[in-house]
């Protein structure tokens, strides 16, 4: 297979320490407690901060993460990009630290640090030798409530985020294509605004904007601390109480995402650009996340695997292997979202294949799913794959912290993450048919979908010599 098409494993991949337990699990009596995947330990501080510890003693390192339940979807109107901008600014001065000093100290201790912003969350992390855990915890706690960013740093960092927008989006038409599709799918909803922000709004973001957002959302009771690595729960809890316990809770701003308006007609976005040499097809549906509907989300994960998960999936086999109308095809689903998630079908058309052909083939596959469902063998193979693939996630220090963080910050309980392999095993063929029909039945005109064609620019027609003498 080709390297460049590594498909993401289901994002809730987890690990089990003993495979035998997975295999025999379905035979066990109902009252047996299910095995936990990470054996993570859970605590809450008095100020409301949640604490998760994932012990892993293979290497004397830790990954220390703080996840804030605030992201681009919480931004005030007209201030797109402020959540991500604030993430940058958290490195530009805080309690006892000069601008830039945070990362320099981490480096000088042999560690690495970074952060990321999404629609639903902002997370900060360091990976470092375990003996420096307290140092990074102290610094991280210092910027939870004591940001100290000078005005001139705001101005220079604003240039940096504009460069980032250029690099990730404006320099490449497929980046912009993604933005258009999201905007069309999430009408009247903050997910339709890119996390990086719209350029003209980014250019106007101010010191005050950043501080207002920070003061409103950055507090211990709006955050989850996750430490993975060569530690015990007791060790981390003691340090957490000492360093994070001192912060007072903030008032939680309730999230109220608007409902989807009932719009008639599917949306089609066609984007042509002279630099495009390879057309791309995408089709998106709004579907539930774990938080919105856990049972449907689990079913959608199984559907993702069967319909679009790699070289053995239906979409790949039909479009790429059998019909040869595409050079790649698949499906992507991230269930870890606070509001609605997306089912993203994609295909790279083969040369001289038009978009309508791809669209029809996709429609046929979706229809087959809705009408005929899946075979028992497809179902059990998919569940085995998902459960077995999940084991690998334990083979990492940072990985479990990312998985648990993404799940919990978007509304899943730690327990549901720990029992995911058992839960995925309860999905039935009936569930699959029902869920397929509910969310992506191509013959149901009430289900709105957004289809995108990314195309080369049409060449002007050359005048033909039709043989007539001048």
């Amino acid at each position: 297979m080709t390297q460049s098409f590594t498909l993401p494993l289901p994002l809730r991949i987890l690990s089990i320490l003993c495979l035998c337990l997975i295999l025999t699990f379905s035979a066990q009596a109902q009252d047996t407690e299910p095995p936990k995947v990470f054996n993570a330990e859970y605590y809450t501080l008095d100020n409301g901060m949640e604490v998760v510890v994932i012990p892993n003693h293979r290497v004397p390192v830790v990954t220390h993460m703080v996840w804030y339940r605030v992201g681009a979807a919480d931004e005030p109107a007209g201030k797109s990009g402020i959540a991500h901008f604030l993430e940058h600014l958290l490195f530009k001065g805080s309690e006892n630290l000069e601008p830039g000093e945070f990362s320099k100290i981490v480096r000088s201790l042999g560690g690495r640090d970074n952060a990321f912003t999404a629609h639903d969350y902002t997370a900060y992390f360091q990976s470092i030798a375990v003996e420096h855990l307290e140092t990074v915890m102290k610094m991280e706690s210092g910027r939870m409530r004591d940001l100290a960013v000078p005005e001139n740093e705001v101005l220079s960092e604003r240039k940096v985020i504009l460069e980032e927008r250029s690099q990730r989006t404006d320099n490449d038409p497929s980046g912009r294509f993604g933005e258009y599709l999201n905007a069309a799918l999430y009408i009247n909803h903050p997910y339709g605004i890119p996390v990086i922000g719209w350029r003209q709004e980014m250019e106007a973001l101010s010191h005050k904007d950043a501080y207002d957002f920070y003061n409103q959302y950055y507090g211990p009771n709006n955050a989850i601390l996750i430490v993975s690595g060569d530690v015990t729960g007791d060790q981390v809890l003691e340090l957490a109480k000492k360093h994070y316990g001192r912060h007072k809770p903030v008032e939680i701003t309730k999230r109220n995402f608007p409902k989807v308006p009932q719009l008639d007609g599917a949306a089609k976005i066609t984007h042509s650009h002279p630099s495009i040499r390879q057309s791309q097809y995408q089709q998106i549906f709004r579907v539930p996340s774990y938080r919105i509907n856990e049972s449907d989300a689990l079913t959608l994960e199984v559907i993702e695997d069967i319909l679009g998960g790699g070289a053995t999936s239906r979409l790949y086999k039909e479009l790429v292997v059998e019909q040869k109308i595409a050079t790649s095809a698949g499906l992507y689903y991230d269930p870890n979202r606070w509001s609605d998630a997306q089912f993203v079908l994609y295909a790279t058309p083969a040369p001289n294949v038009d978009m309508e052909t791809i669209e029809k083939a996709m429609e046929d596959e979706l229809r087959k799913f809705v009408v005929f469902g899946v075979t028992d063998e497809e179902l059990s193979d998919a569940i085995s794959r998902l459960q077995a693939a999940a084991i690998y996630a334990r083979d990492s220090v940072r990985g479990p912290a990312m998985i648990i963080g993404r799940g919990m910050i978007t509304g899943s309980s730690l327990e549901s993450i720990e029992t995911w392999p058992r839960d995925i095993g309860t999905v039935t063929a009936e569930n699959i048919k029902t869920v397929a029909k509910r969310y992506f039945d191509p013959d149901n005109s009430n289900i709105r979908t957004v289809t995108g064609y990314l195309l080369p620019e049409e060449k002007p027609e050359t005048t033909q010599d039709n043989g007539d003498a001048p």
């Binding site: 297979m1 080709t2 390297q3 460049s4 320490l17 003993c18 337990l21 095995p35 054996n39 012990p55 293979r58 290497v59 004397p60 390192v61 490195f91 601008p99 830039g100 990362s103 320099k104 480096r107 000088s108 201790l109 042999g110 560690g111 690495r112 990976s127 030798a129 101005l155 240039k159 940096v160 504009l162 460069e163 250029s166 690099q167 404006d170 320099n171 490449d172 650009h273 002279p274 630099s275 040499r277 390879q278 791309q280 790699g310 070289a311 053995t312 050079t327 790649s328 083969a350 040369p351 794959r385 077995a388 693939a389 084991i391 690998y392 334990r394 083979d395 990492s396 940072r398 990985g399």
Partner: protein, 463 residues
């Protein structure tokens, strides 16, 4: 199939095997417990055992079997081999082969670089028998059937077409062409649109029969496998390979087109900048000094001079990094960055300033100790998974470094002095030796004062 004993979760977590990295608190001789294992038929591997997780990882390579061996009209052969070795072998068709890998949660894939042809296997212990069987088949009996071959060619061609709207890819293509001019490294290691179309199953069979042998095989293993088990596996997987590879010799080369600036004209808001100058080999006695120097210059991002001056102080870029590349036949020190078109001239001048400053003035003691602290302290961060360990070991083997390399590395880093860095920097860093590539709009760049030596309209070795 081997039946495993049932463990309870609690029993497993209670078994605390000694961490495989020896922390500073433990005074041991070796940094990492690496064993050299040799099978009965003489195949050698490096092994780090760890039975705390039921996973086995194997990283291996055929030295010098990579893209540099491809004939110019057969560019992409090594790449295509890497895509088709796992598309059916023995009596197993491509679909069946892929399905087995997926159903058993086995990772088996190949990857071709300019120098070496690499492979990786990752499996749960319980599926290891089948995993090693599939690996053996893929190496010794690949089918190269027509349909999967055509599919992989088409997929590569899509990849190339997609890359043509990616300015960073385009900059790298042009830089390889210019820096390695007249050398196989200038070829497109992923193939060209036309060269890929011409590749056949026969070409692939010639690839395997020439380039895959015991005498250029290098293997690293980590995880839930003992030395004795590994010996058996080595023979069963690799035992039937021919003894000797037939490889053409590739000459050494210096970085070419030094002092020149090349532009590929593209109408984009941000110009991509890539620069290469001569570098240093991992074998060179000054290599650790060079690592310290490069940390100060730009390899670490935050905390480095380039990031400090160009991103932190002036906000001119989202990222600027300097990095060494040590190929078998060429060594370089390179810069990769991007900036708004109107800032390109300033950016180039700022980088030149930092180059010159580092070449002429000693670094501070603080800069030295921060670099040493990071380079020594961060190594365990590259050992937090089974595959990271095998990748690390494989890279040491491919560079022909000894099994004790990691043990000596920290001492060497800690012995570096400010004078050492100054001596090396003054010899190595030379802006006159820069080969520079820009991808951006020529009109805007010209009007902002960037002196381009040559504008390249069509990228070489793409079509």
């Amino acid at each position: 199939m081997i039946l495993r004993k049932q463990f309870s979760i609690f029993a497993l977590t209670a078994l605390l095997f000694t961490s495989w990295v020896n922390s500073p608190a433990q005074a041991r001789d070796s940094f990492l417990d690496i064993k050299e294992v040799t099978s009965e038929s003489g195949i050698t591997a490096w092994l780090v055992e760890d039975h705390s997780i039921p996973i086995i990882a194997l990283s291996f390579a055929f030295k010098d079997a990579g893209a540099a061996q491809d004939e110019p009209e057969k560019q992409g052969l090594a790449q295509l081999a890497s895509n088709t070795l796992d598309e059916g072998a023995g009596n197993i068709t491509s679909e069946e082969f892929q399905k087995e890998l997926r159903d058993l949660a086995i990772t088996l894939r190949y990857n071709s670089g300019r120098d070496h042809f690499e492979g990786e296997l990752k499996t749960l212990t319980k599926n290891s028998d089948r995993a090693f069987e599939l690996l053996a088949l893929s190496i010794t009996e690949p089918r190269f059937d027509e349909a999967p071959l055509a599919r992989m060619i088409a997929a590569n061609q899509s990849r190339i077409r997609r890359s043509q709207s990616d300015p960073e890819w385009m900059a790298a293509r042009l830089l390889n062409d210019k820096a390695y001019s007249n050398h196989p490294y200038a070829q497109n290691s992923g193939g060209t649109l036309s060269s890929l179309s011409a590749l056949t199953a026969n070409d692939l069979r010639e690839f395997t029969s020439a380039r895959l042998a015991k005498n250029n095989l290098v293997i690293s293993v980590a995880g839930d496998i003992t030395a004795d088990e590994l010996k058996t596996r080595l023979d069963s997987v690799f035992g039937n390979l021919q003894d000797t590879a037939t490889l053409k010799s590739v000459p050494d080369t210096e970085i070419q087109n030094q002092g020149k600036i090349f532009l590929h004209d593209r109408d984009i808001p941000q110009t991509v900048i890539q620069i290469s100058q001569p570098g240093i080999s991992r074998h060179h006695p000054d290599y650790q000094i060079a690592q310290v120097m490069n940390f100060v210059l730009g390899s670490s991002g935050f905390g480095s001079r380039l990031t400090e001056e160009i991103r932190e102080k002036r906000g001119l870029t989202y990222g600027i990094y300097s990095y060494f590349t040590d190929h078998n036949h060429a060594q370089s020190l390179s810069i990769s960055t991007s900036t708004q078109n109107s800032n390109v001239s300033d950016m180039l001048n700022l980088i030149k300033q930092e180059w010159t400053k580092l070449a002429n003035e000693p670094i501070s003691n603080t800069e030295l100790s921060n670099a040493q602290s990071y380079l020594t302290g961060a190594l365990p961060l590259s050992m937090t998974s089974t595959k990271q360990i095998t990748d690390l070991l494989l890279s040491i083997q491919l560079d022909g470094l000894p099994i004790t390399y990691l043990d000596d590395r920290n001492a060497k880093l800690n012995a570096v002095t400010v004078d050492d860095v100054q001596n090396l920097a003054s010899k190595l860093l030379n802006t006159d030796q820069w080969t520079t590539v820009l991808v951006g709009p020529s009109a805007a760049l010209e009007s902002s004062g960037v002196a381009v030596d040559e504008t390249i309209a069509t990228l070489p070795n793409v079509e």
